[in-house]
Subunit: 212 residues, 2 copies
Amino acid sequence: MKKLPKSASIPTLRRLPKYLHFLQKLQSTDEKFISATKIANEFGIEPILVRKDLSTTGIVGKPKIGFELERLIKSINEFLNWHSVQNAVIVGVGGLGKAIMGYVGFQDYGLNIVAAFDSDKTLIGKKIKDVQVFPINELPEIVKSNEATIGVITVPATSAQFICDVLVGSGIKGIWNFAPRALKVNNDVILENAQLSQSLAVLTHKMVTKNS
Amino acid sequence: MKKLPKSASIPTLRRLPKYLHFLQKLQSTDEKFISATKIANEFGIEPILVRKDLSTTGIVGKPKIGFELERLIKSINEFLNWHSVQNAVIVGVGGLGKAIMGYVGFQDYGLNIVAAFDSDKTLIGKKIKDVQVFPINELPEIVKSNEATIGVITVPATSAQFICDVLVGSGIKGIWNFAPRALKVNNDVILENAQLSQSLAVLTHKMVTKNS
DNA sequence: TAGATTGTTAATCGATTAACAATC
DNA sequence: TAGATTGTTAATCGATTAACAATC
């Protein structure tokens, strides 16, 4: 029986994809092992922090040698559940929605966008990078028939909560919210906010205070 | 003499925009005051955490009444430096680049994108939502003549470091990096990573472990 | 006045860092 | 063997939470 992964802190979860990108880049070289020290140097952080993060994923390294590259990549991918494909739908085919629909990199994260939805009739029936746009009223049926588990919200703030409710009502288990609005969901649904403003706030504030 | 804002923790900086969105929504009602308790309830967090965050921005509230809505919004905006306009350039006019160029909401964050750059000759000279696309070799001149301070990187991972170096060499003070690659910058340049994978990792991992 | 809320000070909690034995 | 690196245990640091006097 496969044991369930323990949960990790949010800072750890946010660092793991960074490591993964670096490790995948290394795959094109002929390195077979990588040490936590080398990873830490790449990101300017402490080696012990990398060791802790990696051990959270369940991997065991070899003293003096480090971690086997292939196994480490596999361990992180499995820990994040990126090794299995999750079907997702996206609601809101504006600029950001189109960008997400067209981003092939999500395949690396196991995210498979099976359908898009929008209230704009001129968009319905069109395809953006192989993903077809449907009217909102077909959402519940399409979510169920595709066994989609993740709903991506890229609608304007004013309709975000309504769309969220439709998604959750259709059986969606995880909401990835890009709309600048706080959403309310049941306890059994995971909500992750991905507003660009959060990241921009860190940048602009640090720029002002860097000399104080 | 205006005193420089103290620096805040990253968790605080990431929460402030959320409060701001909520407060701006409240502006359309006739509420003039808001308490930290009400804000906390909106986001399901502790009131004392909101009070600490708000006091970091320098605002002082009134016992029993709360915070004056207008002044609170102003205080957060000034703390994040969103009240003054920062000129920015964006490099990489792919899906995500176009989405960011077309997002009018950045005006609320004081971000003014003055020019875009791409190596694709078929894009050069075109305009996406009033932002013109230029060749990379014109970047230093345009950054300087516009006094741009922020560089947004939406190019593929393989060219991200090269573009970053060009931006920093042109005098850019803050890098907002969307490319899935670790970048190296000088100490006097602020780097903020905004990879979608960071946020997705939190979502997908939590979905797997929610019952453990 | 009584109740609600602020802001300060102290306590707790959790994440990061340090120390070090084990080991390839 | 000696040096480098892992993984465990303990210490430190910083963020969150609790307690409570001040006050509109």
